[in-house]
Structure formats: structure tokens, C-alpha cells
Symmetry: D2
Subunit: 374 residues, 4 copies
């Protein structure tokens, strides 16, 4: 079994022409596609419809190519999009696919492994609460099994997309006699992300089951997963999970690495993570190494204490620009500068994902020996 | 003559308490203050009143301390503010002051030199046109003379603040029978910045006088100044100029350096500029060197061709967030990450300031021998 | 021939479920649908993808129902969407359809008549220029012919959707050696709307052909059409035209009326227009009359002189919120208050559409005798 | 004792030139000024510094005119500003002043009466909680006493400005070992407004003391005051209260009236309130009556149930534009259209101020006989 990772541009959120071409050329097979992770140029908030637009367009394309109904595909293929290409960030999507059959024995080299899972639909009254955590944890375990990743330590990036609570959904829950954790839609996205991160941490053994409670979400920030990246959006009603790691049951030139980021200025983590992949940045990744990188993923967060290294920031007090948009733009600028490429997946809302006020960075790269020729 | 540079925080745009304390402690003298450059937490656009608020508060404080009327001070002391602390950027201001008397002979070491000048008020019909260019050039020359900087090559940073055209000013000009270059206020700020940059380039000999025309502004982007940083705002009606360079007529431990930035990902320029000051960033400036830095200034620009290194950006097509806010956040994230400090002056609108799609970076630092050892 | 007008809600820009239901119930026939006018909850600017998302969803539905390829439908059925449901405005769409055959003789009563047309694709270098005007005028004449509206005076509302110039399109034009009227995307939408309005005015005889020139667009605001409503958006590359009027060749209970609005406070025009339809608002339309209204259309504009009736407004100097968003919210609040219903199509950018600083209002209503009595 | 009400324009938030002129002309006396209510062109959110800028400028002017230190004035004269001039709204301020001496007996006619009060500073941990309610109630009672308004029924408008919780203040409270009701700054403004409204309702006997609890704030929306208008902002640390009513101990031509608004489309309440003042709007106030109006005050709220009269609105799910900005623009458009004047004080955030989803409207006008006749 081999994982393939292709990064493609879009001219607008409904533009899947690049994937259409790739499929026509036969570079990857439509029925091998297992997940898509992308950045669209919306606002990343509750009313960001670029995610739904992209997803609809993707599923229409795959439906034609695979001869399956869109409604089936949407339940099989996680399409996790983060809205918001602030600053230099470039709208793009990473197509994850598989080919070959599962190896029955381990090889010498671990290679990139991909697993996916979808939870059952989650009612609005469960969003951002313990039931949400457990639902995500179950899905993460299922995805790890599917990927033949035996140890939690071999997992480097878990992307989760969770539903949130719009005012319409909140009213519906109330009509059913249920309460919701918040009726503020943006706030509900934060609770959903927190629940997703707890779910990943629980599945990977980063926290003990006894520590999971409604009260800890968005409160106890010492609890976090070091490789969870959770988004929340109006366009899903179930939890979608993508697990990326390295496994000796998989083959091919790709590997993945990750590092936690201590804060929004932690350029050291970026450089160290690249070093894990055998790539130097001094101060920028050289052209020949840049082409070895097939996907870069960042999760970040405006420090809730209002300061970055002792100096006041204004992200949390801004009524004009959402705080997540601010921090995505800053981290996007930093990481794109180090990599020399603006196709960076930067997602805000890193509650319980990496250290408080920080986040994490991960990347998928070809091994040097492979591209170098040896 | 010695230049002093102190960087201070503000809790809000009307908060001058840090300067008040510094003056009370006698660290610098109120009557030695010659200019202030700062970043306030407004939107950086036409309706950014944080600049006016800060200026009013500053002048009220200095009026009390110096016993001069505010109206006089405002004509003597350029207070150049860039609104917008997007992303990690921290609201702060850099107070430039002088002490001692002018040396009559050159010393061995060049040290930071400061000169300032104010043009006469500029009518709305001249904003963004050739008359504007000539007005700025005259002011730059006056400021260089004042600073005893003999060669254009010793100038490293010229900060200019130009008036713009609000709808009220446009109507007034029309009532006088005059046309304005544009009645779109945000557009007028771009024209004003272009005129300012041409004025600096003209004064420093970077372009020939024959190349200055109304038509070249915002059109011929091969023309640029490599050390102009121009802002435009509703709160001024004249051009305010601050020239910073190194001169052997000045003494003290401070020096200034600058580098053009080729594009928004040019981390190499940041590291090289720090190298000019004897400061290493590998990948981040070390704690002990960070304290040697007293001011970092960046000018940048969303690439008008819609791409950064071949990948589409969305800054120019965004109706929700102004393009300059986008690019300030990205560059702020990058430079703050390299320096390890979020008190970076990042100003957008770099038309004709640095290469097209790029900009410039400058910093003031103590010499290593001074802080390291003496 | 009879016109049908149905106003439907959407839960999000990809939600066509209401139309799906209506078609399933047989209330109107899918192959009778000739145009759709709607308001989606985007920002109404260049990066408003809610329009493309809705259109894609609509065409997918109609393709299923009519058995025609989407690519054909998109060239047959104008789908004119205005993004931006500021304030109380409710996302909705008005489906215009026809049934029966064309009458060969005039009846006693004029009834609502609908005609549509599409121009050939318009290159970016023609957008906002004279060629654009002529293209729109041709399409308006074609739509009038189709609707059997003989006199320009019987036309009450002409909805036009024009292409604009994104940065990508501008670069493409430059690569072809062509210049564009502006490379500022938002500005290009204004030029496109101006060209559309001139086109309508030309077709309806509101201006003489000699007055049409590049120079008059966005300059000579004494030139306007009293019943043009022009939008511009990134999602179209040709001019789409819908002509609504009253004609004795059509039957049925519906009629249309319109009035110019002198300024953004012109509540009198709203009440007078309702009066033309036999509906009283004192101060609000009564419940029983409200149900007679099937569509309300407003076009408006922030006064470019910066004042409304002598008092300064701030719409044009706001860097946080686009001016058109401001004015749509204000007019939406006013008209929704008079009608008692927030499903109002309010479109900004009324350059040359109604008097300078004002706009126009139109509505489609059933005749009183019909609903009152039958 | 006679109340004077003068409505003045501002060119920007630091522009007090109109008041300066009025004082120079002697139309009112500087030492008679007791309160100012105004709309400035900020965003109305946590980072709206236009309010602080205006207040600083006002106090500087009054300090010069009255020969009192600014620090004293700021504790004596409530200056309640609402940021946000969305749509047609015009930045302006209403200066409330008094002349003459208190009558010892009642006259035949009740005339406008003004009372003010300031609470002690309120710590961040009390903001939005029961202690906040009681603090406001005490201040309202003190202001009523000062105004010689005997019956709660004679009070028509109570303007309160409450402090909120910025991230800096929240951190400070936590450092003191105290918890805050929320560390989300915008959310804290909502809690503060709720506490203010409960305080007014308590003082006016609209609710029973037993119903006041932390839990009821922002939860039990059946509790509301019919004449409270509460703002919250970063620029105050105490509750500022202005009580406006009619009293027979006061003389002069001015009177005040108010009506609750059932929802955002309640044009009937606007017309009825005008009727209470003897002013007809059919559909718009006539020119001669318009000049009798000296101040119009609206408080409104995006309906938290997500609908206006059964149709979905998008205000609460918008990440680009704050919900209060949306609703102010809509109500501003409606009321300005009825009055024919865009100088309307419209303040959002009407939690517990008027019916849920609605708000209130009040106006001060000269009696008809006075202006009409001679």
C-alpha cells in the first residue's frame, strides 16, 4: 500500500479543474482518493460557504469519475477545508490517495500511512460536550486501525472536522427540548474544536479518560493533543477524521513529521520539523528541497492571555477582523517565509491543539535519497 | 550630537503613560524629542482615527512637559503613525530624540543621525501628483541637511507621512474649481504614497528629475526608492519627513541598516539586514542580541500581479479585509518570528518603495561591542 | 402567456430545497423557468462566492429536472444574484416562469411580461467601456422583443448582470496586450455597472446614442436609467439581461410598478410605488396586502458627495465595511419596515441607475380584485 | 430650571469645533452642560477608540471653557457615545444643558427634565453580574432625584454607559484571584448591557428585586426595561447614567416621549412616538416639524432567534460584520427615512432593553404651539 499526496491550486472555491486534469492524465486514480485537505478563500467563520461550495464541486467531479452518487461519496471521503487565506496564503488543496494492497509484513522503512473515518451525525445539543469527545475518539481509533498504524507515537497529524451550532440548529435543538452549549455560532466552533482535540488526545493516550468532562473544554488548557488539528464548520453534521502517520506496512518515498509550536513566534519549531524530514532552512528552504515538500500543515491560536512574549497583541479585542483570521495571516507569513512557498494549510482555532497560545506544524516530504537520485 | 531611540508600549491609542514615566525619570529630555514613529491599533485606512487620537495625546503630554502650545508642537515634531496591528503585531511607538551639540568634525565611527522636516500644507488637488513629489523632495533634502548626512548612500530610512483625499476634502477642492486625482479615499492614499516615494527617490538621486510625472505614479513600478517608507492619512495636511541614516558627525552606540525585500517571502533580506548590524538569526535572534534592537521598520505591499512566487494570493480581491491589512499581518508574522519580538513597525502601501511586490526592512541597533562589553 | 413569480427561502447559498419541493408539487414547471433573481448572504464583492455556489446548485437541480446539461442551462437562464443580506435582509430568491402560449391579440389588461437575453462573452478589456454599453443595449432590445413589450414606457425593471475584472482577468488581458479600465477589482465592478446602466438607458431611449462614451461612465451622473438595476460579479463572463414590464399580450393577476428614489431617505417613493399597485402603507402594508406582493426590488447607492440631505455619512470612507454593504443595510431596513417583510432584493452600486445618490424601487404584486375576490 | 438640547455635527471624532462655536456665541453656557450623548464613526466594539478620542477632545474643550481640570470634568459630565454610523447614520452629538434654578412648585406643563449620576468604579469581576445591577440602580435613583422626577412613569429614556472586560482587564482580575463573567471582550459588553438594563428596570420598578440574579442576565429575556438604553465600552470604568423625563418642576418648550419597538420592522412604533409629540409622519415628517426635533434615540437588537417575522436573517452568523453593526444600519435606515434626517442615535446591544428582538425609540421635541406660533 502506498500513499500519494498531490497539492493543487484552485482559481476559486468551485474550481476543481486541476484535479480533473490530474485524473484525466492518470497520475492518480479517482477511486484511490481517500481524503482532501484544503484552504479556501472564505472567512473561516460560520458564514464561510466556500467550504461547502468546494465540497459540492469536488463531489460532483468524483461522482462523474467514479460513477457513484454524490451522497455516498460525501460519507466516504473526508473533505476537510479551512477557510481563510489571509495574507500571503494561497488557496490550494491536498489530495490524499492510496494505491496497491496492504502489506502483510513490515518493511524496513516506515512510509506515510493514511486512515480515515466518519462518526455518526452529531446532534447540536452534543456539540462541544463530552459526547462529542467520545465520538471523535472512536473515529480516530477506527482511522488508525484502517491505516495499520500500531503505535500512537507513529501518528503525526490528525485532522478532524466537526459540526458547529448555527442559530438555525440551535433553534431546532431548543424545539426538541435540548439545550446547546452556546447559541453564539462562533463560540460553538471553539467548543467543537476543543471537543475534537480532546477526542484525539483520548484516542492517542495523551490524556486519561477520567480527565474528559464538559467542564474541562475551553477551560483546562494544560490538556492538549500534540498532533490534533481540528476545524469546525457549518457544512458538516458528523465528525470527519483523517489520521496521518508513518507505518512499516506502507511503502513509497513519503514521510511525515510534526512539532508542537510554543507560541506564534516559534520559528524554531518550523525549522526543527523540517530537520526531522532532512530539509534545511537557512534561512529559507532551498529550491531543490522545496519541491520535496508535498503538504505543510499549521495549527495556531491567538494567545488568550492577550500577549505574545510579553507584548500586547490586539487579535482578541478586534471587532472588525476575527481573531482567527489575524493569527492565520501571521503564521502563514512566518511559515511561508521559511518554506519559500505560500501554499501552507494554516488553520486557526487551536484550542487544546498544541500548547496554550501555540499550536503545531506538520509536513509531508519525499525522502532526500529518493528525489536526490540514489 | 547623539541620537536616542526608545521603544514604548501603549495600552490604547490615547495611552502615553510610558513616555510620561520615561520623561519623569529623566531618561530622555522632553525638549530633545524630534520625532515619533509608531503603530496604533486602527485599521490603517481613511477612517483610522487612532492616529489622530495618539497624536493629540502625545502633543498634550509634550505641551505640558515643554510648556509650548500644542499647535506649535504639531508643526515641529513629525509623529508618523501606521495604523493596523494585524496578527501578532504589538502597538508601540519609537521616540527619537537628540542630545548634545553638533560636532564640527567627523569622528571615526558613523552613528545614527536623525533629521526632520515638514512641508507647507498640501491642497487636495495636489495630492498624488507631481507637485506632491516636489514638495516631498524638498522636505527630504531639508531633513538631510539638518541631520548632517552628506551622502545619499548614508541614508537608510526615510519615513514620510502624506495627506490624503477624504470625500470632504474632495468636495472642497471641487468647490474651488479644482479636480482631484481620485475621489476614492483609499485610492487617494495610494497616490499619496506613490508621490511620497517619488519625492524620496528624487531627493536621494535614485531617479532623474525628468522621470517625474503625474503619469508615472502608480504606473511605472520600475521606479522606486530603496529606503522610502511612506504612509498617508487623514490626520495630516502637510508632508512630514523623518530621515534616518549614519553620520560621522554624530556619536553614540546606535547604527541603522536597511535592505530591500524582493517579495513578501524574502526572509533572506531580514537576516541579511540583521547581519549588517552584526546580529545573527539562526533561525531567531538570540535573547541577548534582541535587546540590542531598538526599532524595526518594514514596508510591504500585496503583489499587484496577484501572485507570490507563482501562487495566487487573495489580498487584492477581498471585500472584507483591506489588502494592506492582509500584507501587514503576513510580514509582521514573518519578521516578528525572525526577531522573536512582535514590536515591529510594519506599514503597508509600499508603492514605489522597494521592488514591485516587495518592500524594505530597516532596523536600529546598538553596536555589539557597546552592549557586549564595554 | 402568463408570468409566474414565486419567492423562496434558502437556508444557505447551496440550498435549493424549496424550489425542489415546489417543482415536485407541480406548482410551476421546471421547463417554464426563465430567470431567477435572488439575494445571497455573501459580501457582494469580488470575493463573494455565494453567487457561484447558488448558481451551481440551481443549475444542478434544473439539469436533473429538465434533463439538460448544466452548461446549456447556464447559457439559457439568467440567474442574477446580489450578494449581501446586511441588516434585516433575508436570503431569498424569486423564480420567474412562464406558461401558456403567446397571445396573438392584446387583452384589456396589461399583465406582467418577462423577457430574457444573454450577450456574447465580454473580454476584460471591454468591461466598463463603450463596447460594454452597446453589448448590453443589444441584449435589452432582444429581451423586450421576446417579452412582446412594445413601448419602452411599459418596461419597469431591467435587471442586468455584468462581468467584472478580477486580478486574474486583468493579468490575462495584459498578457494579450490589452489594457483594462482599472485593475482594482471593486472599481471594475462600478465601471461594469455604469456600462450596464448606460446600455439599458440606450435601449429604452432614455439617452441619445451620441451621449455614450467611455468618458461619461462614472463621470456624468446626470445620465441615468430610471429602471435599470445592474449587478456585477466574478461569476459571469457575459451580460445577462432580464426585462420586466406590463404587456397586453400577457395574462394573469400580476403587475409591476416602479419609482425612482431621490435619495436614501426617500420613503415617499416606496409608498408611491406601492400606491401604483393599489397597496396602502400607513405606515406599514397591512397583512392581507403583504401577501399580494411577490417580489420587491431596490437599487441604491451611497451618495458620492458624502452627505445625505446635508448631513455627513461615513459610508465612502470606511475601510472596514464596503460602502455598498452599508447602503444595502440602510435601504433594506427602510423598505422592509414599510412592507413589513424582510425579503427585499436590495442591490448596491446604483451608478447611473436612478438619480445620483438615489436609486429605484420596483415591485410585483397581484391585482387587488384578484386576491380580494375570486 | 430649563433644559436645553442642541444637536451638533462632527467632521471626525476629535472635532468639537461646532460646540466651540456655540459656546463662543453664547447660545448655551459651558458650565450649564450636564451630559453629552453622541454617535461616533467607530465600529462600536471593544476596539472602538473614537469614543475615547471624542471624550478626550470634549473634556479638553470644556476644561478650557470652564477652567476646571479634565480629570474632574470626566467624573461630572456623562459623555455617552455609541460607536458605529452604519449606513446613512450621521456622526453627531447631543449636548444636554440646564439653565435657571429649580422651581419650588409645579407648573401646569411638564417639560423636559435631565438628571445625571455616576457610580463608583466597577471592578472587572463585577461587570455583568448582580453587583453591577445594583450599582446601576443606585445611580438611576440618584439621577431621578437630581432631576426632580417623582414618578417612574415620567421617565422616558435612561442612558447608561457601563464598563466592559478587555483581555487586559480580565488578566488583571485573574491576577487578583477573581473570576470574570467571560473573557471574551465582545461577550462582556453584552453582559454589561444586560446588567445596566436590569439596573434601570429595578430602579423604575419594572421588575421586583427578587428577580435580579446573575443567572437571569442574558437568559430571561421576558425581563426588560421599556426605557433603558445601555452602552458598554472600554473607555469607562464606572457606570454613567443620564435620566431624561418630563417634570412640572422644569420649564421650557421641550418634551420627551418614547415607545417600545416590537421588532426591527416596527415602523408603527416610530410613527406612534412621533404622534405622542404631536408630529405627523405621512410617510415622512414634514420639513417644518423636522426642525422641532432635537434628538432621536433608538435602541435595537438583532433577534437572537435568527428570524425577523418568520424570515431568516444573517446578522448573528456573520464573521465579517458584527451583528450590532448590521442592526444599527437597518434601524438607522428605517428611522432616518421616517424622520427625513440621518442624525439618529442608534445603539445596538438592546439586551433586556425593550422586548426581545426589538428595542425602543425616544425623541425630544419642541411643543408645536411654541414653534408654530408665536
Amino acid at each position: 500500500m502506498q500513499a500519494h499526496v498531490i497539492r493543487l491550486p484552485m482559481a476559486h472555491p468551485g474550481d476543481l479543474s486541476a484535479l480533473d486534469r490530474i485524473l484525466a492524465e492518470g497520475l492518480i486514480r479517482a477511486d484511490g482518493i481517500v481524503a482532501v485537505i484544503g484552504k479556501t478563500e472564505g472567512n473561516g467563520g460560520v458564514n464561510d460557504f466556500t467550504r461547502g461550495y468546494f465540497t459540492q464541486s469536488l463531489m460532483a467531479l468524483l461522482s462523474r469519475k467514479r460513477g457513484q452518487p454524490q451522497d455516498d461519496l460525501i460519507k466516504q471521503i473526508p473533505c476537510v477545508l479551512s477557510g481563510g487565506t489571509e495574507g500571503v496564503l494561497s488557496p490550494h488543496y491536498v489530495v490524499l490517495s492510496r494505491s496497491g494492497v496492504t502489506a502483510t509484513t513490515r518493511s524496513d522503512h516506515a512510509a506515510l500511512a493514511i486512515g480515515t473515518a466518519m462518526s455518526p451525525p452529531l446532534a447540536a445539543e452534543h456539540v462541544g460536550r463530552k459526547a462529542h469527545v467520545l465520538s471523535v475518539a472512536d473515529a480516530v481509533r477506527a482511522a488508525m486501525d484502517q491505516a495499520h498504524i500500531e503505535h500512537a507515537g507513529d501518528v503525526h497529524f490528525v485532522q478532524v472536522k466537526c459540526p458547529c451550532i448555527t442559530s438555525v440548529r440551535a433553534e431546532a435543538a431548543k424545539a426538541r427540548g435540548q439545550s446547546v452549549v452556546t447559541s453564539d455560532a462562533n463560540r460553538s466552533m471553539a467548543f467543537a474544536r476543543a471537543a475534537g482535540a480532546f477526542g484525539v488526545a483520548l484516542a492517542l493516550g495523551e490524556i486519561e479518560p477520567g480527565k474528559v468532562s464538559d467542564a474541562a473544554l475551553l477551560q483546562d488548557f494544560d490538556v492538549f493533543s500534540s498532533c490534533a488539528s481540528v476545524s469546525s464548520g457549518v457544512e458538516v453534521d458528523a465528525n470527519e477524521v483523517i489520521v496521518l502517520g508513518n507505518s512499516r506496512y506502507w511503502s513509497g518515498p513519503l514521510q511525515i513529521a510534526h512539532r508542537p509550536m510554543a507560541d506564534a513566534l516559534d520559528i524554531g519549531a518550523v525549522v526543527a520539523m523540517l530537520g526531522d524530514l532532512g530539509i534545511e532552512a537557512n534561512p529559507q528552504v532551498a529550491e531543490r528541497d522545496r519541491s520535496r515538500l508535498h503538504g505543510v500543515f499549521v495549527k495556531c491560536e491567538p494567545d488568550r492571555r492577550g500577549q505574545v512574549r510579553g507584548h500586547r497583541h490586539t487579535m482578541l479585542d478586534d471587532t472588525d477582523i476575527n481573531a482567527q483570521r489575524h493569527v492565520r495571516g501571521a503564521l502563514g507569513g512566518l511559515v511561508a517565509g521559511v518554506i519559500g512557498d505560500s501554499r501552507i494549510f494554516v488553520s486557526g482555532g487551536a484550542e487544546h491543539q498544541g500548547p496554550d497560545g501555540g499550536g503545531l506544524i506538520a509536513a509531508i516530504a519525499e525522502r532526500a535519497s529518493v528525489s536526490g537520485g540514489g
